[in-house]
């Protein structure tokens, strides 16, 4: 079984919208995978299945050999500790400093302060924000906030990094920097990366595996792909 296995997954929302129908997908450990598609193509739902923000109506979702779909609400945290998530809207705690934001997950696991500090500083170093530890999120630019979010996602050295449109709110130049950063994390730390995105030029430039979603189905799966002309996404 591969690191991520999605088997016959169907997701029907309460309002009757079918977001995914019978999706099968497997992703190898250490891969970098783009998930692209129109709005409402199901790519966001697919991503959310991986960290159990959504449960499939039918089918199985294995992450690291565990069926995530079967996890009870109160046990979800066990999955989230092995998975780093980067959000489009950063989701930083506004009243905590950069350092506290990155340290937050570790502190909430009950780790010792002396153990937390080197991990947080290493993560902040990785994203190039070591000199901003005392700033609050609203004192940072969008790109910097996204770096904090990435630092928080990788601070626990997760095996999987899930990115939900990480550059959606950023200008092209900053987007490029963020993508380079995530690419480096993938290469240097061997973290598996699954990224939903709209950014055409990035996908075309990076030549990674690309999964194309359309109307809840996987329409294309290209190993070194990019946007094709006929997939005018």
């Amino acid at each position: 079984m591969e690191f991520i296995e999605i088997q016959d997954c169907t997701k029907v929302y309460k309002n009757g919208v079918t977001a995914l129908s019978d999706v099968n997908l497997s992703i190898k450990k250490g891969d970098f995978v783009f998930v692209i598609g129109h709005t409402a193509s199901g790519k966001s739902t697919l991503i959310k299945l991986l960290y159990r923000e959504e449960k499939p109506t039918k089918g199985k979702v294995f992450v690291g050999g565990v069926d995530v779909a079967k996890l009870r609400n109160s046990k979800v945290y066990k999955l989230r500790r092995k998975v780093g998530i980067v959000f489009q809207d950063f989701k930083l705690l506004p009243k905590l400093t950069v350092y506290e934001n990155v340290a937050y997950p570790l502190a909430s696991y009950g780790m010792k302060t002396s153990e937390i500090r080197p991990l947080v500083l290493a993560a902040l170093e990785q994203v190039g924000l070591k000199d901003k530890t005392r700033s609050f999120p609203d004192q940072l630019s969008g790109g910097e906030q996204q770096r904090v979010c990435i630092a928080r996602a990788i601070v626990n050295k997760p095996r999987l990094l899930i990115c939900d449109e990480p550059t959606g709110n950023l200008d092209p130049e900053t987007s490029k920097e963020i993508m380079d950063l995530i690419n480096r994390i993938n290469k240097e730390l061997g973290t598996t990366v699954v990224m939903a995105t709209h950014a055409k030029d990035i996908v075309n430039r990076m030549k990674k595996r690309v999964i194309v979603m359309k109307e809840g189905l996987i329409e294309g799966d290209h190993l070194k792909g990019g946007y094709k002309v006929n997939e005018s996404v």
Binding site: Y51, E53, N73, S74, V76, Y77, K78, L79, R80, R81, V83, I85, F87, K91, L92, L93, K95, Y104, P105, A107, S108, Y109, G110, M111, K112, R152, N156
Partner: protein, 302 residues
């Protein structure tokens, strides 16, 4: 160790969050202060009303007038019988000679009347004054007494007593309803205010869940915060209760109110004030805690 670290961090973060969400914290605390003050007033009011009714009840007596030609042995016998009747609390015997002396000492008019009687002449009757344990059964007790040998008349102001009993019952039930209602209102108000403060932090809770914080750890700072808000909110009502009630008690005494209206007097503040304070503290902090937990639980979904 891990558990202690988590608890320690929760306490720190709950203190921080009280200050960082200062206006919402103040809203919760103010609401707690106001409602707990009402609860305090309710408790003290009902306690005092109960106290006053008890005083009045204790002062109610039954007077038993004995037959005129009753002998000393017969009186002794009757006294023993009375003492063994259920519901009798105290029994005091007044002989007709004692009453005669007492009467003579009361005023000149009475003295003249008494002197007009001959040396061995005494139209008065020997009597018992008894008090009952439970005022509700006073009618039955009076009937029992009336049926005793050598008893002439039994008097206790039947109609007045019956009215009093009904009124007291009404007042007691009323105050209980009042206090219960106030506590319910408090629960509702404090719970709601905390719900609002937590709703404002739904995002925060979502983020905690997304970065892998377990539900217990998400809840803990909120529980502590609820406890702290409730506890802080109970301080002012407790101070007002202790100081205000003592002041009122002293003041009413010095003004001489208690002399004018001998029955309507405040209960001494020593124990009741501390009991009330304890109730205020416990209900404030417990309601704060549970209000918090309930509100957070609703947002543990993502």
């Amino acid at each position: 160790m891990r558990v202690f670290r988590i608890i320690g961090r929760s306490i720190t973060s709950s203190f921080k969050s009280i200050f960082r969400n200062f206006s919402l914290s103040m809203a919760s605390i103010t609401c707690t202060v106001i409602t707990l003050l009402l609860v305090s007033i309710g408790i003290l009011l009902s306690y005092n009303i109960n106290n006053i009714t008890k005083d009045i009840e204790n002062e109610l007596t039954i007077v038993i007038l004995m037959d005129k030609e009753v002998t000393e042995e017969e009186i002794k016998e009757t006294e023993d019988i009375i003492k063994n009747i259920d519901n009798i609390d105290t029994v005091v015997f007044n002989s007709k000679d004692e009453i005669k002396d007492h009467l003579a000492s009361q005023s000149d008019t009475y003295l003249k009347i008494v002197e007009s009687w001959g040396e061995d002449e005494n139209p008065l009757q020997d009597s018992f004054v008894v008090t009952v344990e439970n005022i509700k059964d006073i009618n039955e007790t009076a009937t029992t007494l009336r049926n005793l040998d050598y008893v002439d008349v039994v008097r206790y102001g039947e109609t007045m007593v019956n009215k009093l009993i009904n009124t007291f019952d009404g007042i007691k039930n009323g105050t209980i309803v009042l206090v219960v209602a106030l506590i319910l209102v408090t629960t509702f108000l404090i719970g709601n205010t905390i719900k609002i403060t937590i709703h404002a932090r739904k995002n925060e809770i979502d983020i905690m869940r997304l970065v892998g914080t377990s539900n217990t750890v998400v809840k803990m700072p909120f529980i502590i915060e609820g406890f702290l808000l409730g506890a802080i909110g109970s301080i002012l009502p407790i101070l007002i209760t202790i100081l205000g009630y003592s002041y009122l008690y002293d003041h009413m005494d010095s003004v001489g109110m208690s002399n004018i209206l001998n029955v309507i007097r405040l209960a001494p503040p020593n124990t009741i004030v501390y009991h009330t304070s304890l109730i205020l503290f416990v209900s404030g902090s417990v309601i704060g805690m549970f209000g918090s937990v309930r509100a957070v639980r609703r947002y543990l979904t993502i």
